[in-house]
């Protein structure tokens, strides 16, 4: 209750105070106007105070209206309804006020006109004339009476003035009789009032009149503060011939109080009537001014009250609008204060609850989203670090995600094509090597949710690979299939290992089964030739010799083959020791330098190369195989050149390059060049390069091939530098 009262006082108090004070002032002003002269000196103060007050209210009204205009421009919530309701209220109040103003004007003018009429004016004039005539007659009577007395007593007055003055006062029934000399000297006087020590002396102008021998008779008013009423003053100049003196006799006659009162009442009534008749116009104007001020004050106050009331009414709307704006800007921490326990208060409370719930839900979603993001990042990290290639597609076969392994295995750029349709991506010029692969994969998507997999050989510029493709659909909330995931494993090494194992087993069995009978076959063929040589004629001897030589050569060839099988199949323990690879290369290269050789072997060795831990015998075999391979590759070259170089660019690896200027290896052959029996040469075991790769792998190295048509071939081998303290690779 108390807070509501203070709120009301704060919002409406000053308007009420100013309006109330101004109304009181206007009431006082109207009262002053009706009494005309009373409080007239304060009227001006009240008038200008009222003007000031109305000016203040008008200023406040203008300020409020200007504020509303600015609010309307800024689209402040509630401003439109405030302006609309204020306009309606102004019209609702203004029209009746204008009507009241019109009728009030008429009533004021009619009312003031009714104060005056000819009869009253005439009556008052007549009454005034009657009073004046009556008083004039009395004055004239007193003058005549005094003149008669002076005529009789002039001589005695001059002789014994004191006695005669007293007798004369009694005779004339006067209030006071005084005898003056013409030079204004008092000679004698007599008064009815014992307390009067001196007579009421005539003025200088009257003595001047006396000296001119003129009589004086007039009604005068007592000027002394203690005396009241009017009196008749009569002054008669006379001369005494005996004494040769000029005198003046002053007689004051009282006027009966009832006559005075009647005369005064007539005078007051006539005076007020005259005054009001003169003030008729200004009075009407003043009343109209006050009426205008009252109505203006009423209208301004009402409009100000309306504006304040409407603003109070729309305050919750503004609060809600601020809240919704804050929410729309993403601020869910806003909480609006509730000042009223009405429907607006309930609405605000509901809004606060709603925002709180939205905020909580939003926070939950945010946390969930963050968790999802963390999970996603986790999965991305896992997928990124997988050695298997992962590729996900959406329902429309657009690429959604991929990982580095997929790009590496498929030897293409996938990251920059996220969002692209698979069939469009395949059509790119650089992805032609993927056509066959995805031609086999795409039909698998039609299998639905059933997981699928298959193995396929895949050829790209990096070589031939064997890929294991796994596929499955991705789950979806509203659909059965949300997309597809393809997992690609490069199983080349595993298959290669299996093949190597199989080849090693075959080689081991061949070596075991074939190697043992070869020596008896060779010895038998030699013995056969030796025993039968002498017993045959020349023609048969020659035939026998050719055939036994053929057997011996073929057995020798088979022994070589078996030895190669044995070398390939056997995996003797690598005996690592400090090896100067440059020296080893120099020694072996020297073996292939012969004046009769059609080829030329050159070396370019980096002198700063460190010693490496290696099996020198196995390296020797590696170098032999590669040099032989180069010689065989350049057999049809006009000036065969074989160049062996070493590079030691860092402290961790040594690079060995063996290059020839042969015709080069076709691109399609580069994929299987290191496979056993992959040679397309008419001679050889087909195991030379396979053994080379095996030796390189035994030393934890890496071998690559760099060859192009008619530009020769380079085998690039990288050996890790192995420290003597730790014999494992760095």
């Amino acid at each position: 209750m108390s807070s509501k009262f203070w709120r009301f006082l704060k919002q409406y108090g000053w308007i009420t105070l100013i309006s109330g004070a101004l109304l009181i002032l206007l009431v006082i002003m109207s009262q002053i106007l009706q009494n005309a002269s009373s409080f007239a000196d304060t009227y001006s103060t009240l008038l200008f105070t009222t003007f000031g007050g109305v000016g203040v209210l008008l200023f406040v009204l203008f300020k409020a209206l200007w504020g509303l205009r600015l609010q309307r421009k800024r689209n402040v919530p509630g401003s439109k309804i405030t302006i609309r309701l204020t306009t309606i209220a102004t019209l609702m109040l203004g029209i009746p006020i204008a009507i009241i103003f019109y009728f009030s004007l008429t009533f004021i003018q009619q009312g003031i006109n009714q104060w005056f009429d000819v009869k009253t004016e005439t009556a008052l004039k007549n009454a005034s004339a009657l009073v004046r005539t009556s008083l004039d007659n009395k004055t004239r009577d007193m003058l005549n009476l005094t003149l008669a007395a002076v005529k009789d007593k002039s001589q005695s007055l001059a002789i014994s003035p004191i006695i005669e003055v007293s007798k004369l006062r009694t005779l004339l029934n006067a209030q006071e009789v005084a005898l003056y000399h013409s030079n204004q000297q008092l000679i004698a006087f007599s008064s009815a009032e014992i307390s009067d020590a001196l007579p009421l002396a005539p003025g200088d102008n009257l003595f001047q009149q006396i000296r001119q021998k003129k009589t004086y008779a007039a009604i005068e008013t007592h000027q002394d503060p203690g005396s009241e009423g009017q009196f008749i003053r009569v002054i008669i100049p006379f001369s005494d011939l005996d004494l040769s003196g000029n005198y003046a006799l002053q007689v004051l006659f009282p006027i009966p109080s009832n006559m005075t009162q009647l005369a005064e009442s007539v005078a007051i009534a006539a005076g007020q009537y005259k005054e009001l008749s003169y003030l008729k116009g200004p009075l009407t104007a003043s009343f109209i001014l006050i009426l205008s001020m009252v109505l203006l004050l009423t209208l301004v106050t009402a409009v100000l009250f309306t504006i304040q009331a409407v603003q109070n009414f729309t305050r919750p709307i503004r609060t809600l609008a601020r809240g919704t704006k804050a929410v729309s800007e993403g601020d869910y921490s806003v909480k609006m204060s509730i000042k009223n326990n009405d429907e607006f208060g309930d609405l605000t409370q509901s809004f606060n609850d709603m925002i709180q719930r939205i905020s909580k839900a939003r926070t939950d979603i945010k946390i969930g989203h963050q968790q999802t993001e963390v999970q996603k990042l986790y999965l991305q990290a896992v997928i990124k670090n997988l050695t298997s290639g992962v590729l996900t597609l959406d329902m429309n076969l657009r690429i959604r995600t991929t990982n580095d392994a997929a790009q590496q295995i498929l030897n293409t750029d996938l990251a920059s094509h996220i969002g692209e349709r698979l069939d469009e991506w395949i059509k790119h010029e650089r992805n032609t090597h993927l056509n066959e692969l995805f031609a086999n994969i795409t039909p698998m998507f039609k299998q639905g949710a059933t997981p699928w997999n298959f193995q396929q050989e895949f050829v790209c510029k990096k070589g031939q690979k064997i890929l294991m493709i796994h596929g499955s659909t991705l789950p979806s909330i509203d659909k059965k299939i949300g997309g597809y995931v393809i997992v690609i494993d490069d199983v080349t090494e595993m298959v290669q290992a299996q093949l190597n194992a199989a080849w090693s087993d075959v080689a081991r069995r061949l070596a075991h089964e074939i190697k043992n009978p070869l020596t008896p076959i060779q010895l038998s063929a030699e013995r056969l030739n030796y025993k039968l040589h002498t017993k045959l004629d020349a023609e048969d001897q020659s035939l026998l010799a050719r055939m036994t030589n053929t057997i011996i050569e073929q057995v020798s060839t088979m022994q070589t083959l078996v030895q190669a099988f044995s070398d390939y199949a056997d995996t003797p323990k690598v005996l690592l020791q400090q090896t100067d690879i440059n020296r080893l290369i120099t020694d072996i290269a020297e073996m292939y330098r012969s004046p009769s050789a059609t080829w030329k072997v050159t070396v370019d060795l980096a002198q700063e190369c460190p010693l490496i831990l290696a099996d020198s015998a196995r390296l020797r075999q590696l170098l032999h195989n590669l040099i032989k391979n180069a010689i065989e590759a350049t057999v049809n070259t006009i000036l065969p050149r074989i160049k062996i170089t070493t590079l030691c660019q860092d402290s961790e690896n040594i690079t060995l390059r063996i290059c020839d200027n042969g015709p080069g290896i076709p691109e399609e052959s580069q994929n299987w060049i290191f496979e056993p029996y992959a040679s397309d040469k008419p001679k050889g075991t087909g195991l030379g390069l396979a053994i080379v790769r095996k030796i390189v792998e035994e030393h934890h190295g890496k071998i690559t091939l760099n060859s192009s048509q008619n530009e020769g071939t380079c085998f690039i081998i990288t050996f890790p530098v192995i420290s003597s303290e730790n014999e494992g690779p760095k």
Partner: protein, 181 residues
């Protein structure tokens, strides 16, 4: 006593014709004559028993100099009001002087205005309070005090020129005689 006069006229309705000073009994006295030529509207208002209040202001200024600047020091400031009103019954005009609280009646308005405009032997200051070698100025002004008019007339008096009756300041330079000493 010789004197220099300067006339500052504001309106023709009230005109101060003469202001003269002289000494008597070691006092500075003043005589003045003013002529009133009231507009018809004012005369009508008087005859309708509208009381008028005339304000008479008399000032004696002493010329001084301080720090090289001239300034006037007001030695005497006299202000009093004279009410002019009519009693219609006996058709007499009255003057009430708020300074000496005396009322005078007149049969005609002209005689009342003549009396209103006449000052005789009006005491200003004792000569002992003045310095013989200083320069003094006597100023006089008569005006209608329209704030004392009846309330309904106030607005009209503010906006209508015939109610703006003001003689303006009438200045007299007093030549100080050595006999003051």
């Amino acid at each position: 006593m010789a004197s220099l006069t300067t006339k500052v006229q504001a309106s023709d309705e009230i005109m101060i014709m003469r202001v003269s000073d002289y000494q008597q009994d070691q006092k500075l006295l003043l005589d003045s004559e003013s002529r009133f030529k009231l507009p018809e509207a004012i005369v009508t208002a008087i005859n309708h028993e509208i009381p008028l209040t005339f304000k008479t202001e008399i000032r004696l200024l002493e010329k001084n100099q301080r720090l090289g600047f001239d300034y006037d020091r007001t030695r005497v400031s006299i202000e009093y009001q004279t009410h002019l009103y009519v009693e219609g019954v006996n058709q007499r005009y009255f003057l009430y002087n708020s300074r000496n609280l005396k009322t005078q009646s007149f049969t005609t308005l002209e005689s009342a205005l003549l009396t209103l405009g006449t000052l005789q032997s009006f005491p200003i200051i004792n000569l002992a309070e003045l310095h013989p070698k200083q320069h003094y100025t006597l100023k006089m002004r008569i005006s209608l005090d329209h704030w004392q008019l009846p309330a309904p007339l106030l607005m009209e008096s503010l906006f209508k020129s015939h109610w703006q009756l003001d003689s303006g300041w009438f200045e007299v330079d007093i030549q100080t005689p050595g006999s003051w000493l």
